[in-house]
Amino acid sequence: MISGKLKILEHALLSMGRRKQKNFAIIAVYTLTVATLASILFLTQSLRTEARNVLLDAPDLVVQRLAAGRHDLIPNHYAEKIGQLPGVGNVTPRIWGYYYDSLKKVNFTLMGIGPKERDLQLFSGELPKTAKQCALGNGIAKAYGVELGDSLVLVDSQNRTLLYEITGLFDHQSNLLTNDLILLTEPELRRFFNLPADRATDLAVQVYNQREIATLAKKIKYELPDTRPVGKTEILHTYDTVFNWRSGIMLTVFVSALIAFCILAWDKATGISAEEKREIGILKAIGWDTTDVLMLKFWEGLAVSLSSFLLGSSIAYLHIYFYGASVLTPVIQGWSVLFPEFQLTPAIDLYQIFVLAILTIVPYIACTVIPSWKSAITDPDSVMRS
């Protein structure tokens, strides 16, 4: 039984070879459709994974101060008050801010590193130790064309041009958040932004029991009404929502394209040519039954759709992970105009691949088999009269 089916597969491949141009054209269009869909899925998944990877080491709670509804500097003594709440571990004041380079037209994040944060992960090289040293994300290094040991020129809040020696670079695994990051020592950063010594940008709060994060956030808000505590899960949720929304829009557009292609394929297939009808009649006359003919058409459909799926997925993989998603990045990332380009780390969800395979292979096979079924169930008698 199995050998019979495999021999029909052999004939299907042989048979497809007779219509090389037609099949090549279908595979090319279908591959392009699959590549687009797969690119959207790969890119969204990678961005989400990037966010999750980085946030694994992020503080459980970040406490900001609001003044007139806007983010303001937070007094350092708030850290002591929060630290006294039961269930709270370390509370670390953080110093950071944005830096816009009008020449490159990109926005960077500058962060101060204190003596307590010297165990920062995902890092290669050395963290800055002196006021004249800095560490960079990959995107910035690329944007300026600098390497370890080179110098970086920045203009501070007093409009003074300063030179920093690059002592370290972040690796690819934390691209999403470190890509645009410049690390300076904390005193240097305070001086750079002209920040008062008793204030910080926000507070990083460690919570012993992860289930108590939401409760502690409420307590902090109660104790310090002018603050806004933000949980790690909320940040993750925001990333997911943003990427899902963007990829959702893209998927809607391209699923529409896929449906249009299926309708076209269906239209073409239902208009099964007289030659193909004749062939089905001949096969039936010489002893093929309806199942054999449908099996032949199934293999033909599978060969085209599976080739397109594999090719399209491979192209999408190359596009996203080797060519930096150059076609889709502006749409999915949205805010990327303010970010330097960065290399995504491969992250593939097998469930998504499975769904993509089902969505691309099954409709095409149906488009191939169903119209042939109409011809296959008719008597081969007509062949005798052709």
Binding site: K7, I8, E10, H11, W288, D379, R385, S386
Partner: protein, 230 residues
């Protein structure tokens, strides 16, 4: 001797109960025994092809029965009919009905794809038949590159690859000149000596008057008007 094929009161109406209804066959009683060669004569439209289609299990009769080795195949489901077509019959069509873009060898192998036969055995059989019909040198050529006589031989090879008991040939000399018709007759004579049962529909005298014919039926307007055992 018991009849290999016997039809009883066989009727076929196409497009039944529609304005274009056609009575193709009416009350046909046809018999052929194992190893015989029968010829169906008659003008175009007399019902020869319809009778061959019914006997070969390509369509179903409107009424009547078709007994193959004593078993009525007229009402069998399609999948059984396909099996019978594959195992018991070899068809030689008037228009050859080969797949023009496939090679001769691939065309010949077509009836064997749905079988359980191993590929090596399939290739062996194809090689033997190609040799016996003098097509070995043409086996890799596409069918469209063959002459009419070669296409006819390729069609015969395809009909024989399943080693069927019965050969059905519909106007086999329609596209052949007299020399090629002689070649065809020589092949049919050889098949007869090998014990094959052959049913030929033709209005070519060089065939129906040939000495290999054992039975002759004359058809007219869907009826058998004359049956003769030679």
């Amino acid at each position: 001797m018991a009849a290999l094929i016997q039809t009883e009161a066989l009727c076929k109406i196409y497009n039944r109960q529609r304005p274009d209804e056609v009575q193709a066959l009416s009350e046909i009683d046809f018999t052929i025994e194992q190893g015989e060669v029968a010829v169906l004569k008659g003008p175009s439209g007399s019902g020869k092809t319809s009778l061959l289609s019914l006997i070969g299990g390509m369509t179903r009769p409107t009424s009547g029965s078709i007994l193959l080795s004593g078993n009525d195949i007229a009402k069998l489901p399609e999948r059984f009919l396909a099996g019978i077509r594959r195992k018991s019959f070899g068809f030689i069509f008037q228009q050859f009905n080969l797949l023009r873009d496939l090679s001769v060898r691939d065309n010949i192998l077509l009836p064997l794809y749905p079988t359980e036969l191993k590929t090596a055995e399939m290739q062996k059989r194809a090689g033997e038949i190609l040799e016996s019909l003098d097509l070995a040198s043409k086996q890799k050529m596409k069918v469209r590159q063959l002459s009419g006589g070669e296409q006819q031989r390729a069609a015969i090879a395809r009909a024989l690859i399943n080693r069927p008991q019965i050969i059905i040939a519909d106007e086999p000399s329609a596209h052949l000149d007299s020399k090629l018709t002689e070649e065809l007759l020589a092949i049919l004579t050889r098949l007869k000596t090998e014990g094959k049962t052959i049913i030929i529909a033709t209005h070519d005298p060089s065939i129906y008057q040939h000495e290999l014919i054992d039975r002759s039926y004359l058809m007219h307007d869907g009826s058998l008007v004359e049956a003769e055992q030679l």
